[in-house]
Amino acid sequence: MQTKLFKLLPLMAAVTLAACSKPEEKKAAPAADAAKPAAAAAGDSIVVKIGSGAPKSGEIAHLGKDNENGAQLAVNEINAKGDLKIGGKKVTLELVGEDDAGDPKQGPVVAQKLVDAGAVAVVGHLNSGVSIPANKVYADAGMVQVSPSSTNPDYTLKGNKTPKGSVSSYRVVATDAKQGPSVAKFIMEKGAKNVVVLDDATQYGKGLADQVEKTLKDGKVNVVAREAATDKTTDFKAILTKVKAMNPDYIFWGGMDATAAPLVKQMKELGLKATLASADGACTEKLIELAGDAAEGVICSVAGFPLEKMAKGKEFVANYEKAFSGQKVQIYSPFAYDAVYAIVDAMKKADSADREAIAAAMPKVSIDGLIGKIEFEPTGDIKGGAITIYNIGAKKLNVATIIQ
């Protein structure tokens, strides 16, 4: 036993040595005074760090990667232009990306790491469940957090304030309370009578489905069944067989594209005549790729204006695919991209890269983003904004209507 262990020792020693050499020197600077962002001045230009927290491992790593890519793209663009100046000094942005694994327990640790690394503001996190506990850490450090994808209303409603009293939790995505009713109203206009509301029992899916159910009921539409699966469900036949007898004309799915695809396929297989309606989580090219012909006719919504309608939209997609070869725009990268621009706008307005100064300037942010105009409510939610409803036809996402 003992001799065997010795075989491992050189390996362990190598790992430890390699490990110890790097992080310590890197850490030394911010650890000295963590409260001040590391705006390492070098002559007339400074480096400003922006954090990004997203799940880069685990089940939804592809979405997390996409968020970080969106933020990275914005950072690259701003650096390439090179005209960002603060206090007369040229600013180079640096994105510090961290993996939160979509795990609420890792949220605060990752947040702390971004704080220690000297980020002045953070784009993230993807899941509301991670954003909420992480926000406390950011707020305590006087930082602003702009989530590209956390839709839980509590994130801003019960958000935290920085020591100087500024709002710390912002988001550029519409909350469930905005997006849900838009889809519901759209299918009501289309003449929905019997609707089944389904969700994946996650914060995102259930929050959305609750809002849809409420809007439908207020509009006197029959919600004939309210059912739930999970975010790992791939077999919806039990639920679908049950609701088939109720003759629904629409089925709303609160969930992601990866689960919407089997759902819509199995609807067709079981001979349900209902149309599937869903929101941004399922409003993707991936859904069409996964569900094939079954995806035809699906209705879904995305907050903001359609990418192809925006002048910058096509450019964004092209630049994205060029910068990250082999990867495709998933869902929230345009939002992460805009989040970076929102932070930079606040930085410009404050003419400072100080955390609290950025936080204080956030309410004044006003930019024409990829997804539309970006301005914030006093709570930290994005203002009004358009919701685009899509209709899948001929294997493409076609704009059905834009709700202002």
């Binding site: 791939t234 039990a238 049950k242 569900a291």
Partner: protein
């Protein structure tokens, strides 16, 4: 009403057949070595991934669908068998005389490893699995129907079970397997190489997992993902224990019972608690039959 019930039962049997296929692999390994092969679900995932890659390529090359299915299945089986052989040799064999929980932990380590390999090779996204079996619905009566794919799933699971039973009870290898499961050491004295028998068991289990993976990927909405092995792996584990772990017909009975319990529970009680029913059925069965539905009482001292 009756139509809904019959359709629900059909759904349950189809899902249950998939659980059963995966459970057979669990049960074989448990029967012979007494360890839970937690990496089985991941082997299945790799099988589905390989089949997806091969099938997509061959379909693009214009081969007929049936040939593509066979070639993809063979490719998946070969990869899974090599993989499983390696896993057994590297991660389980050295621990055959170690405390019982040691192989459990290596198995979990192996599944982390396989998942990360899949992420490196295929990436993080969900990928569509080509439709190799017709998914057109055949109406049986009224509103009750079943697809060709589902019929194949049920039949394949029954073939697998009978095939395995014949193998274990009628062949020389089967006799060696039974002997090994009684006592590894004595089997060696009887002129059978237990290592070879155990390797063979793992490889047969892997081949079954590859086929199960393909059918599961097609049935579960036609997609594959590096995390797809987790849920069926866990459900199959429940199915194997429900039927009496180590017992081949038990795996099938357990799988079907689990599939039916889930379908009926979700259909008639509450879909939100679908996964709870699986466990409630399990607890109730185990309270009355502590060794599972078909398990014999053993002087198990774990």
């Amino acid at each position: 009403m009756l139509e809904t019930l019959v359709q629900t039962l059909i759904n349950g049997i189809v899902v249950g057949s998939i659980y059963a296929m995966v459970a057979l692999g669990y049960t074989m390994v448990y029967g012979i070595l007494g360890i839970i092969n937690f990496a089985h679900g991941e082997v299945m995932m790799i099988g589905a991934m390989v089949a997806m890659t091969v099938a997509t390529l061959l379909l693009k090359a214009g081969l007929p669908v049936l040939l593509v299915l066979i070639l993809a299945a063979i490719a998946a089986m070969v990869v899974c068998m090599i993989l499983s052989y390696t896993i057994e040799k590297v991660a389980y064999r050295p621990l055959r005389n170690a405390p019982k929980l040691a192989p459990l932990i290596t198995a979990i380590g192996v599944s982390f490893l396989l998942q990360s390999i899949a992420q490196l090779v295929w990436g993080l996204e969900h990928f569509p699995f080509p439709e190799l079996l017709p998914s057109k619905r055949i109406i049986l009566f009224g509103d009750v129907g079943i697809t060709m794919r589902e019929i194949v799933i049920v039949i394949v699971s029954l073939i697998m079970m009978t095939g395995l039973l014949t193998l274990v009870n009628k062949t020389k290898l089967g006799r060696a397997m039974r002997a090994t499961s009684e006592n590894v050491g004595v089997t060696g004295l009887m002129g059978v190489n237990p290592n070879k028998v155990i390797s063979a068991t793992f490889m047969i289990g892997a081949a079954l997992a590859a086929i199960a993976g393909i059918l599961y990927a097609m049935n579960a909405g036609g997609k594959v993902h590096f995390f797809m092995g987790f849920m069926p792996g866990m459900k199959a584990f429940i199915a194997a224990v429900l039927g009496g772990i180590g017992n081949i017909p038990g795996a099938v009975v357990g799988g079907l019972a689990l599939g039916l319990a889930e379908a009926l529970g979700a259909g008639y009680i509450s879909s939100e608690y679908q996964d709870v029913f699986a466990f409630v059925v399990l607890v109730v069965v185990l309270i009355f039959r502590p060794s599972g539905l078909l398990g014999q009482r053993t002087a198990d001292r774990a």
